[in-house]
Point group: C2
Chain length 367, copies 2
DNA sequence: TTGTAAGCGTTATCAT
DNA sequence: ATGATAACGCTTACAA
């Protein structure tokens, strides 16, 4: 019997390599390589012998040597752009990072996290050339909605395998996204269905593509219903809670305030709710409200916030899947994938209380 | 004049390597290598010639070849353990990930994100051997408070360069942390200073070291004040909002309910506040409350939530700095670093309204 | 099916 | 100061 784990499973104890494994297994280095890479052209006898030695020594092939020979690193990049501060105002980024990480691991790929710091960061161009030029990565996922993201242009120009999470209006790169325009139109359409004719919107940062698309959808809905577009009813925000708060105060201070508001994000909607409450007015009685994103806090807000949910985890998973395809066939035409959103109607828009467990029931359930 | 950027700055256009650069610069490959690595033993003439060629072709050395030769990858690992779901109940993890990423880049290191999925993940042991054994990383940062984290034992046994964010009671690895016990004692001590004698606590998940430490600090404070320890006043939570909500309801349902409560996390405290409000009772009038963490929402809660803040970003920065040291001198004894917390007193504990801008002032400021 | 040997692109040692 | 040349550990024709 082979001495299984004779030396307490050291990781690559000493300085193990293919040559050494080969020696111990009584075969050649190539055979060991074939076994490791599941090459069928190996006899069962040799395969077993090699596997045994590998297991006994807990051997794992050296990553650098491997990628030097294969020109593949097995590493995917994930770039979060420099507008990092508002980026973490809610859990959208954390959740998408998580799903991308998990999906990468499931595909036996490692994930390299690239975060441009607003301050001490290297420029996009430098980062690009260092990481891409140095062949650190096989491909990259860019989670950015910024219109003038410089990386995007570089990726496009150099045809480096890349997937955007969030469409880009100018460069024809592969992306996965939700249809922000259509989704926003659905939201505002729902407010119109409730009978509202004076509908405001709290927008996001103007350099984000999603912001522009959601505004377009807002206009689409008004137009489709034959309602006028009053610029006074649109307030810019910043995707932060305070931005929503401020915007709602402005809307309420209008001579002829809206009776319903569409907020381009749930976090801003939460801030807006605080503003309404402080003004002693009620939701949806005085102002109906719907958000965008589908964050968890929407469901537990007072009143529960209607919203249109993005399939965040699925966006991440699709991005990884698409990137792996792209790495395999770099010359295929760019793919554009839109994932469905989910309109979740709760009390804040005037819909009847939803069929969800009450607080008491939840308590009982948690116990 | 050299043809600067003659071919539109392709990244490693064609198949550039040291040999090719050397040829174009009229020197040998070794000289090019020396220039790249800032070796002083190069004549200015040669250095300039090489630099020119490198710049003209936007050349970057191949990472795999480099680490094969140097036995250094320039990659740090960041492991987020498998209890991933509650991990993202607030922004602690996202913020620490961000600070670690930024600090790594500032130190010219890349960051590999390792997230064990609760479900489809490989086991800790497999992950360890694949990544560490395969020499993907120079070192690793583990952000985990879980007592029985299996990775920690492996890292300890194999003496792989590692830093824990959050101390481990058993294995003597380097770590950076806040002193949870002393901090909790300070919080509860403050409630005692307010005159409370019946003080409850909402704890966290029991498999977390921080939970145990904070409970110990709670006991310390009671003991130091000569107050009895009533087990009924301790309710377990889960670091989620709903857990705090449930725990507070139980505490309020007690025959002799507490007049003050220390919550082991701000998120749970927020849930607790909701429970108090729903019960028609007031904070701090009926129940004084202090949280732990210092999340942003604490300041805007109604009433503003007192808390003790962790220096989250600094924890990340220190972790990177310590890891780099450890990689340089692997045999140095483990370092234990405690960072100070910051008791932020607001209305929820009964302190006078703080000197912060009112909502109106904030609005004015934002405009 | 197996082994030999030639890369992969650096760094590092040793002469010169 | 510079240039050959041997590692580094793996994959992959090509031979056998």
């Amino acid at each position: 019997m082979a001495n299984q784990n004779g030396d307490r499973s050291q990781p690559n104890s000493g300085r193990m390599n293919l040559e050494e494994i080969a020696r111990l297994a009584g075969v050649s280095r190539s055979t060991v390589s074939r076994v490791i890479n599941d090459d069928p052209r190996v006899s069962d006898r040799a395969r077993n012998a090699v596997r045994e030695v590998i297991a006994a020594h807990n051997f794992h092939p050296n990553a650098a040597a491997r990628s030097l020979a294969t020109r593949r690193t097995g590493i995917l990049g994930l770039l979060i752009p420099r507008e990092i501060d508002w980026v973490f105002s809610d859990l959208f980024f954390p959740l998408i990072i998580k799903s991308i990480a998990v999906a990468s691991h499931a595909a036996e790929q490692n994930l390299m996290l690239l975060m441009e710091a607003s301050d001490s960061g290297e420029s996009a161009e430098r980062l690009f050339h260092r990481v891409i030029g140095g062949r650190h990565l096989d491909g990259i996922i860019v989670v950015s909605n910024v219109v003038e993201e410089p990386l995007v242009e570089l990726l496009d120009r150099h045809q480096f395998p890349a997937i955007l999470v969030g469409r880009h209006p100018v460069f024809d790169l592969s992306f996965v996204d939700v249809d922000n325009r259509v989704s926003a139109k659905a939201v505002v359409g729902h407010l119109i269905d409730h009978g509202h004719t004076r509908i405001g919107m709290i927008g996001g940062a103007t350099n984000l593509i999603a912001t522009l698309d959601r505004r377009d959808g807002y206009h689409d809905a008004l137009f489709a219903a034959g309602l006028p577009i009053d610029p006074a009813l649109y307030e810019g925000g910043d995707f932060q809670e305070m931005g929503g708060y401020v915007a709602m105060r402005k809307l309420m201070a209008l001579p002829d305030p809206p009776t319903a508001v569409f907020s381009a994000s749930d976090v801003m909607a939460l801030g807006a709710m605080r503003a309404v409450a402080e003004a002693g007015r009620s939701i949806p009685g005085d102002i109906a409200l719907i958000g965008f994103d589908g964050i968890e806090r929407a469901a537990t807000a007072t009143p529960p916030l209607s919203t249109i949910a993005q399939p965040v985890a699925e966006l991440g998973r699709q991005a990884v899947a698409m990137l792996l395809q792209r790495i395999e066939t770099p010359n295929a035409p760019p793919m554009h994938r839109y994932l469905p959103t989910d309109l979740q109607l709760r009390a804040s828009c005037g819909c009847p209380a939803p069929l969800v467990p009450s607080a008491e029931e939840v308590v009982a359930q948690v116990r």
